[in-house]
């Protein structure tokens, strides 16, 4: 089996990697690029812990091959804060104690950011349905939803 050469942009930086043809983007990120912020909770697209965006589209990185990333722009949790400045969602998650164990947190933040980019003023129901693919077993989602709504409010400048 021959490895595939892939050129891509990850969190704004151009980069290259080699991967097996059947290797998922998640495995590439974690095992080859050292970006372990995306987690594997299921490997079947049912938990959302591996959420990243590709060309702005929210996806599960466990359901995409690394080879498909050629020429695409991938954004992960590691690209969410701007240097020392946290994204408002990250800040609100901390303020609202919207995480307990924290394993689902990167995926939920990436997904919530994609939500607010598409819909800056979601209803609670819209936020809940958008995030339905991100399982959290610790919080019962209450504080997560509150943090997302509060971040949306702040980002709208309202």
């Amino acid at each position: 089996m021959t490895q595939i050469h892939v050129s891509t942009t990850i969190n704004g930086d151009a980069g290259e990697f080699l991967c097996e043809p059947d290797e998922t983007l998640l495995d590439v990120l974690r095992d080859r690029l050292g970006l372990t912020g995306a987690k594997e909770g299921c490997g079947t697209g049912d938990c959302g812990a591996c959420s990243v965006t590709v060309d702005g589209r929210l996806i599960c990185s466990c359901l995409m091959l690394g080879a498909e990333a050629d020429g695409r722009e991938v954004t992960t949790i590691e690209g969410m804060a701007n240097g020392e400045t946290l994204h408002p969602l990250q800040r609100k998650f901390l303020e609202h104690a919207a995480l307990q164990c924290g394993i689902c947190t990167p995926g939920i933040l990436v997904a919530a950011k994609a939500l607010l980019e598409k819909n800056p003023n979601p209803t609670e129901t819209e936020a809940r349905y958008w995030l339905a693919g991100n399982l959290c077993r610790c919080t019962g989602y209450d504080k997560i939803i509150r943090a997302v709504m509060d971040a949306a409010h702040e980002m709208r400048g309202a």
Binding site: T36, G43, Q100, I103, P106, A132
Partner: protein, 747 residues
């Protein structure tokens, strides 16, 4: 809250405790930097994969690993033969011995240069199985003609003539239940079943083991207790405990499921045989097939009540299967089921049963939710039959201080009545309901415990504090420890940094379980801080040339105790720290304790549900948790425990279940069909924190982690039963079951 005797913390004005600061591990966890079990890599690392039995029950005649070993890239293969330690159930569960006892039971493992090679090697391992008949249902397993898992595990409490799958019998209670039933105006008897549910942590088990030829080893692992991992694994490997250093990674949820070992001894053995570090990570399928779900149960219950709502007697016979080995949590179900009520006549009988399912692991208040489910369902039905208010009846019968618990002791200070009164006064209780909607109430109880705890607190030269504790932080406990240390020392929260030390750094620490951490580690942290304070006071006394008894600690400063002690300006912690080398050397406080005497905990939950009578679909409309926290150190994380427990309970009540096929194989080993609640299934979970201080803790803290999963099964069942107009007696109340119950009731 009126108290007879004063608590140490009464009247104390807390400065840090009770606030909601950002947790110390917060930034790492929102930026992806936090390192969980699978996030560790080591140079030269191999990957380990496990071969699992496809059979529910089979004799292992032989295992031929020669072809796997010959595959290029394979560096080690391990089977049970490699473990020469004396057999026990935990080891047998990690690697099957003579028999594979459930679908997914590990039978061999491989370490190879890549996952691809390892998976290929697994296919080359030839296991000669003699497939045996199997049993997965608890009632079936108790029948005399059921396939038998073990010939010799039944203990002396089991009467002769029962199936050998029945392992142990428990009985609790007092009074004369028959006399009690004779006094009743209304008696309800019902049988219930509950399905096995999994803890469902999002992070699969993972570890990296590295053992050198000198026999020393390091293990990086996601676990609720790295000291436990060390103490359990070292003897399995024939090692001295001191030669194994275990470091706890960040842990992605546990809920009791990470209080034992699965991969860890196998990874160590693979590392020993290959001479290289070995990383093992479970797939979600592995997690569901082979790690700890909780018990499934079958329970008969009978309760008598007078017209005025007095419960005259309670009786239950409970059968729990805990998988392929002894140890279902039936005794806790039998002890906890009636604990919220002050009963003259009560009796519970519990049977621990084995079946061909994965060995159960603790799950948040193990055994108690099922007991509360059946008792609270029947109390609800009795209230309905007698036309009584469901909260008033619970208040009338509630256990209070001095009441004799159904499991024996008399309660000390407890907060059950306070939770019920808060529930009664809450607007939720009087809110109107629409058609096909119902409201359910349930109380719940859990013991909590403490256990071995070691904490070390270093005063750094600049006046900051490094706090080392040994309990993996699952839900924000580092924040709580930091707060208690800062509170006690009188310094800002930000001046303290708390870490989870590895097993070589501290004395023994019990697992993060039993709702013990904020209670026990908190207690040890406070005592360690007091130890450091004593030392700092003594340094100040030296500098001032006065007696150390004449120095007190206030607001982060050493001060002369009174005018007679001399007139010296207060000396801050930072000043004392800066002079430490000159005054006697480094300053550190520590405390080691077996923190016994944890206070029990109670909660009352209220749930509104709507049922679609045409499809059986249930929607949770509103949910409120009322729970006694003793003292909430970080209220946001206390609320988080309440909310998380409630939602796990909602999942258990509505859609989560282990489904076995006729072939004894698990049919739903994935998050697609093992259905944990998703965000869109739920409303906000409201919380009311009650604070009845625990006399056993300096600040009055009670454990809060587990009790919150005890009431929801019944709260939801009572709401659904009210909404559907028919009593539901089987969990989960999945739509086909609800619809069938509605249709049967109408027919």
């Amino acid at each position: 809250m009126a108290l007879d005797d004063k608590h140490e913390a009464d009247g104390r004005v807390f400065k840090v405790v009770g606030t909601r600061p950002v947790r110390p591990d917060g930034i790492d966890k929102v930026t992806g930097r936090a390192r969980f079990g699978a996030d560790m890599s080591m140079p030269g690392m191999l990957v380990g994969w496990v071969l699992r039995s496809p059979h529910a029950h089979a004799q292992i005649r032989s295992i031929d690993t020669s072809k796997a070993e010959a595959l290029p890239g394979v560096k080690a293969v391990v089977t049970r033969k490699d473990f020469t330690a004396e057999s026990d159930d935990v080891l047998d569960n990690c690697m099957a011995g003579a028999k594979a006892l459930y679908d997914g039971h590990a039978v061999a493992a491989v370490a190879a240069v890549s996952a691809k090679v390892a998976k290929q090697a697994l296919k080359l391992i030839a296991v000669d199985y003699e497939v045996l008949p199997h049993v997965t249902d608890v009632d079936e397993a108790m029948k005399l003609d059921a396939p038998v898992l073990h010939k010799d595990k039944t203990d002396e409490t089991v009467p002769a003539g029962m199936s050998k799958n029945v392992i142990q019998r428990f009985e609790y209670g007092h009074g004369d239940v028959e006399a009690g039933f004779a006094e009743a105006d209304e008696i309800v008897s019902r049988s219930f079943k509950t399905a096995a549910t999994h803890q469902g942590y999002i992070e699969p088990h993972a570890c990296v083991a590295s053992m050198g030829p000198d026999g020393q080893a390091d293990l990086w692992v996601c676990t609720q207790g790295h000291y436990m991992v060390r103490n359990v694994c070292a003897p399995m490997l024939g090692m001295d405990i001191g030669k194994l250093r275990v470091t706890a990674s960040e842990i992605g949820g546990g809920f009791g499921g990470k209080t034992t070992v699965f991969l860890e001894p196998v990874a160590l053995m693979l590392s020993r045989k290959s001479g290289r570090p070995v990383k093992m990570v479970m797939t979600r399928e592995d997690v569901l097939r082979a790690t700890g779900p909780t018990a499934s149960t079958s329970i008969d219950v009978k309760i008598g009540m007078k017209k005025d709502g007095t419960i005259t007697a309670g009786w239950a016979e409970m059968r729990y299967q805990g998988g392929a080995y002894p140890g279902s949590p039936v005794q806790f179900g039998a002890m906890a089921a009636f604990a919220p009520y002050n009963l003259k006549h009560v009796k519970t009988i519990g049977w621990d049963v084995v079946t061909n399912r994965p060995k159960q692991a603790a799950y948040r208040a193990p055994g108690a939710p099922m007991g509360a489910y059946v008792v609270e369902s029947v109390i609800d039905e009795l209230c309905g039959n007698l036309g009584l208010d469901r909260l008033s009846v619970r208040l009338k019968n509630a256990s209070t201080e001095g009441a004799k618990a159904s499991y024996g002791p008399r309660f000390g200070k407890i907060g059950l009545t306070a939770t019920l009164e808060a529930a009664k006064a809450h607007p939720h209780y009087s809110a109107p309901l629409g058609p096909s909607q119902g409201r359910g109430i349930s109380c719940g109880f859990w013991f909590n415990f403490g256990g071995d705890t070691s904490v070390s607190l270093s005063v750094n030269n600049d006046g900051t504090i490094s706090l080392s504790e040994g309990n993996p932080d699952i839900g924000g406990s580092r924040a709580s420890m930091t707060m208690m240390a800062a509170e006690e020392l009188g310094i800002p929260y930000d001046s303290v940094r708390t870490i989870i030390a590895d097993t070589s750094a501290l004395g023994q620490n019990e697992v993060t379980d039993g709702s013990r951490v904020t209670f026990a580690v908190g207690l040890a942290t406070i005592k360690a801080a007091r130890d450091a304070i004593t030392k700092m006071c003594s340094r100040a006394a030296k500098v001032w040339g006065i007696d150390e008894d004449a120095v007190i600690w206030e607001d982060g400063h050493a001060k002369p105790a009174g005018p007679n002690a001399g007139k010296f300006p207060p000396m801050s912690l930072a000043e004392i720290a800066a002079q430490a080398s000159n005054t006697g050397g480094p300053i550190a406080g520590h405390h080691e304790v077996n923190a016994e005497g944890a206070g029990v905990s109670f909660a009352t939950h209220m749930c509104d549900a709507e049922v679609d009578p045409e499809t059986g679909a249930v929607k949770i409309l509103r949910y409120t948790v009322f729970q006694d926290a003793g003292k909430a150190v970080h209220p946001a994380y206390v609320e988080g425990q309440f909310q998380g427990g409630a939602v796990q309970g909602i999942g258990w009540a509505l859609n989560e279940e282990y489904i076995y096929g006729k072939d004894g194989r698990l049919q739903n080993p994935g998050f697609l069909d093992y259905r944990v609640p998703v965000a869109s299934d739920l409303p906000m979970i409201d919380t009311v924190i009650i604070e009845v201080p625990n006399p056993g803790h300096p600040y009055g803290v009670r454990g809060v982690g587990e009790t919150s999963i005890v009431p929801p099964l019944a709260a939801v069942a009572n709401a659904v039963s009210a909404a559907a107009g028919v009593r539901l007696t089987e969990l989960p109340m999945s739509p086909p079951r609800v619809l069938k119950a509605i249709d049967t009731a109408r027919a």
